[in-house]
């Protein structure tokens, strides 16, 4: 049977990808950021997941305003890195897992989560930067990846509560897949940041760290935090943090914290990172 063993949370700041792609990761500005992921690369090399379910958001790359799915699951054989206006990132093509992805789509819809099924989609930095942070710069990504795109561009995104429960439904769906697969769920985006208007550059370390504390210890309580609180406290783009709740919902109630990292800044953004293993 397939099983979810662990969850990874990480910010997905585009400048991190650009720093790696342009050979700047050794510069003083970036060194402390990448140092925070050294453990993570060793961890995932040991963990060897067969499949990653990667929760992220598209940033007006695959989805314009013509079509705005709240939850979209990528069921294709593969996904190309998107051209975000300066050419696609020089990273490997993302290989999907159509078998598990379609099983997830069917199971989730019957479990009353009405997923949008996507058979062709380019994936932007929201998906590829977390892979780069965890795997570095390989010739091919070492496992299959199922993109799960969440709308956080058009307000309102799905609620934290809805995201948390989607994570639980993902856990049920994975557990009913007959193939013996080790699955890790990524929740990406955040932490506090605002990219627009006179309040651009907002960072709230206290909110970010309280979020991580409660996500670990009492995710149900965290799932009740309102959009207004995220936007006010963590910035208009900090609301991406609801995606971490999907990852957390897919894990056991109690988790073992393998790694925790926080760093300000990466360009305009506070970077947070967690590795959590399910217990029992």
């Amino acid at each position: 049977m397939a099983r979810i063993t662990a969850g990874v949370a990480t910010s997905h700041v585009p400048a991190i990808g650009a720093a790696l792609d342009n050979g700047k990761s050794g510069e003083d500005y970036w060194k402390p950021l990448f140092a925070g992921y050294e453990y993570s690369k060793d961890w995932i090399a040991r963990e060897k997941p067969d499949v990653i379910i990667l929760v992220y958001n598209d940033h007006a790359s695959a989805f314009s305003l013509e079509l705005i799915p709240t939850f979209a699951i990528g069921c294709a054989e593969s996904f190309n890195p998107a051209d975000e206006g300066w050419g696609p990132r020089p990273v490997p093509v993302v290989e999907g897992h159509p078998g598990l992805a379609w099983h997830l789509a069917e199971s989730l819809i019957l479990d009353e989560f009405d997923m949008t099924i996507v058979n062709r989609m380019d994936v932007d930095h929201g998906l590829t930067v977390p892979l780069s942070l965890m795997f570095g710069q390989p010739d091919a990504w070492p496992c299959k990846i199922i993109p799960l795109a969440v709308n956080v561009v058009q307000y309102p995104p799905p609620t934290g509560h809805r995201c948390f429960n989607l994570g639980k439904a993902i856990a049920r769906a994975v557990a009913s897949y007959p193939e013996d697969l080790k699955v890790v769920v990524f929740g990406t985006g955040g932490m506090s940041h605002q990219l627009q208007g006179p309040r651009a550059g907002l960072i709230n370390k206290q909110f970010d760290n309280a979020f991580m504390d409660q996500l670990i210890s009492d995710p149900k309580a965290q799932s009740g935090v309102s959009h207004l609180d995220y936007v006010r406290e963590a910035g208009s783009e900090g609301i991406e943090l609801v995606m971490w709740l999907i990852m957390r919902g897919a894990l056991s109630d109690k988790v073992c914290v393998k790694h925790r990292f926080y760093h300000v800044p990466a360009s305009n953004t506070a970077v947070g990172h967690l590795i959590l293993e399910s217990e029992g």
Partner: protein
């Protein structure tokens, strides 16, 4: 504009239904700049390119003037308007500095020092 609970947050325009309806054509114009041919056509004749889109005159003027906050007020979304910045060769941090009324070095220094503080920035 109707009153929403988040309208008391300073310096922030949420891209809600009202903004999205107002900004649809502005944002779809921005989306067209994902293609190199369109970027070239826009750069060659900005006004002519904008006139192909059913945008309001105020929206067109905000683009021509690179009034980044003005575009947001008229329904632009930052992930879309940043495509104009990319076309201009500006980084996200450069337009963030302009939108918050400081120079890019000042903005970068603020971020290195921990970012804009939440204190005093929760309510209008």
């Amino acid at each position: 504009m109707s009153q929403k609970p988040y309208h008391d947050i300073p310096g922030t325009i949420l891209f809600d239904a009202e903004q999205s309806r107002a900004g649809f054509h502005l944002n779809q114009f921005c989306m067209s700049l994902m293609k190199a041919d369109n970027r070239a056509a826009f750069k060659a004749d900005e006004r002519g390119y904008l006139d192909q889109w059913p945008m309001t005159e105020a929206q067109k003027q905000s683009v021509l003037r690179r009034d980044w906050n003005g575009m947001l007020a008229l329904g632009g979304n930052i992930y879309f308007t940043s495509k104009i910045a990319a076309t201009d060769g500006l980084s996200f941090q450069q337009i963030a500095a302009i939108m918050s009324g400081v120079t890019q070095p000042e903005y970068a220094a603020m971020m290195l020092a921990g970012g804009r503080s939440i204190e005093g920035n929760r309510y209008k």
